[in-house]
Each structure stands twice: as structure tokens, then as C-alpha cells.
Amino acid sequence: MSSLFAEAKVYFGANYGIFEEEFLADIDASSSTNVATIKAGYGVREAYAVEISLEYIDNKAKIFSSDSNTEFDGTKYGMNLNLIKAFDLDVYVLPYMKAGFGSGFFDVQRVLQNRLFYSSFNLGTGVFIPINDNLDFEIGYEYKYTSYESVDTIAEQISYESNTNIAYFGFNVRF
């Protein structure tokens, strides 16, 4: 364990990917767009890491906003905290799994609400592709279960949940 700490490095990176969201409970709504992430982490590329990321999702769907002049719901800004476990299998790549949670917000145009918050549980898998000791590329898949702040209709508060699939690639620079 002490040697693992000795090998641990701070790293910074970025991801870019596709974002496909489907709402649950017979709600016929979906969102398909791209997601960009910047991240910072600490750990050993071949073993483990803890990672915090900031997420930018360019919303191309209008699921919550009711204003006829609004084309799409607002851009989603999120933050995630994930734990990563990687495996050194002596092949070209380093497979990993990750799990964590996140939260975020986006603007909407409704009579009673102009911003909605959400939270998510995240599960993911992927591979690091090491280029050298300080640089690696990354290809991965992430699943998010997202729960949105209730929509206020006065008579009731309506909650929505969704499943999201994200496929992404990225890079990490380790120091």
C-alpha cells in the first residue's frame, strides 16, 4: 500500500463524448447531445484513482421549458465525484471501472421555475491507453441514473428520473 501511495500522481484531463438520455416511467422524452468534461484526479494509473470532474452538456432537447420562445432547455452544468479501479493486465490498455455520484443544474423557462437541479449515480467502464508515463488516452462508457428536482405545478410536485448512456474519449496528463 505504501508503494501505491508513492506511485500516485495528480492528473488533469478532459473527456468528450456522446450523451443519450431516456426518461423513465413511461415518459416519452429523450435527449441526445454531446458532453464535455474537465477533470482532476489523484491515483495510480494502473490501480486506482479518485476523480472530480466538471461536466458541460449542450442541451438540444426541450423537455422542461414551457416558454414558446425557448428553443431548448439550458446547458447542463454538473459536477461528479468518481472512484476508479484500474487493472494492469499486461496488455496494450488498462481496463478500469468507476463508480460515483454527481449533481448539476440547468436553466428552464417555466412560470414558477427558471432552474432545475439534478443528482445522479454513475457507473462506468473503459480503458486507459498509455502513451508514456505522463500521458494517456482514455475511451469509456458511463451510465447515469439521474433524478431531477420536482417540477412545480402548484397542485402537485412531479418528479422525473432518467437513464443516461455516455460514450466518451479523453486524455489525462499525470504529474
Partner: protein, 203 residues
Amino acid sequence: MKFKKSLLALITPLFFIACGDNTLEHITSDIKNLQIDQEDIISIYSTDKLSLSSTVYYEDNTSADASNSVTWENSDYNVTTLDNNIIIPSANSGEANITALYKEISDSITIEVIGLVDVNSSWDITSNDINITGDFTLTAHGDFVDGVTNKLLTQNITWESTNDSNISISDDDVVTLHVFNTGEMNVTATLFDVNITKAYIIE
């Protein structure tokens, strides 16, 4: 290294294309307005009470009861008090605005309270023929400033009796005195802190 570059070159373009559907119509109909269901101006006698309700209307022409979701506000507690959405007038004549409020959405109506001519002298207990054991209906009547006389008083009035008799009030505001014992018995009605007591001899 060649393998890695080839893999990245193959996969990278895929991530620039999000190919699923985007919903472009909101899934929850938004609020059009909030309205109190009663008329804009309501007259009520100071010895009556009134239950208000409110409805929220949506842009898809549906509606829902909002009576328990809104906050009910009153502009003048000298004229009336509120028990959630129940109007309980005071003794005095006057006007008060009642507002159903939810965040920045509201609707208001005006309540005109018609008071008694004189709360100390313009009403009386009108149950006089109580002289044996049994059940008797108690009533009180009053004269109001709008000219209505001898109106049955059903709200804001409380009843008490002595000599181990009981008083019950039905859902439709019928007051019944249950007399069990002979002897002297008093019945007291209290309206806006003014008491009227009648003495009876039960034989």
C-alpha cells in the same frame, strides 16, 4: 504504438455524433393561471362562515384543485379571520381582501361582512319552552345592518348549559339541548364575547 493510434483514429469520430432523438415539447404542462373559485365580491353575514377554494389552470386546458396548496392571506383581521381557507367573519361590518397565493402567482376576492346592528342588543336566544327533561332545539336569531331581521345565527356562537345537561351540534348546525335532571338550569349563548343567559325550571 501503431495499434493504439489506429484504435483512436477509428473510434474518435464516433464521439462527435450524437444520433438519438431530442424531445422538443415539454412533458409537463405549465401553469396558465390560479383562480379563487368563488365570485370576485362575496357578502357574508358576521354569523356565517364560508369555505373558499382555488383552482390552478394549465396551458393544455386541464385544471386541478389548489385549495390546499396555496397560502390564504387576509387584508383586514378586524373584518374577518381565516382558518386556512375558511372565512370566519368578525362582529364588525367591513371589507377584506382574501388572496390565494402560491409563490408569485395569486388571485384575490373581496369579502363584505354584514354585521349585527348591535352585537350587545340585536340578538337573542329564542328557545323558551324548556320545562321538562328531554331534547330541545336551541336557536338564536339576530338583526343585521342590511335590514335582515330575525336571522338564524349558526356560526361564531357557542353554547353552554348547567345542571348536567348536554349540548350537541350537528353537521348542519342544529343545536340540541339534552336535559336529564329536574331543577334549575341555565343556558348561555356567547356571540363575539357577548353572553346571553336564560334560566329554566325543569319539572
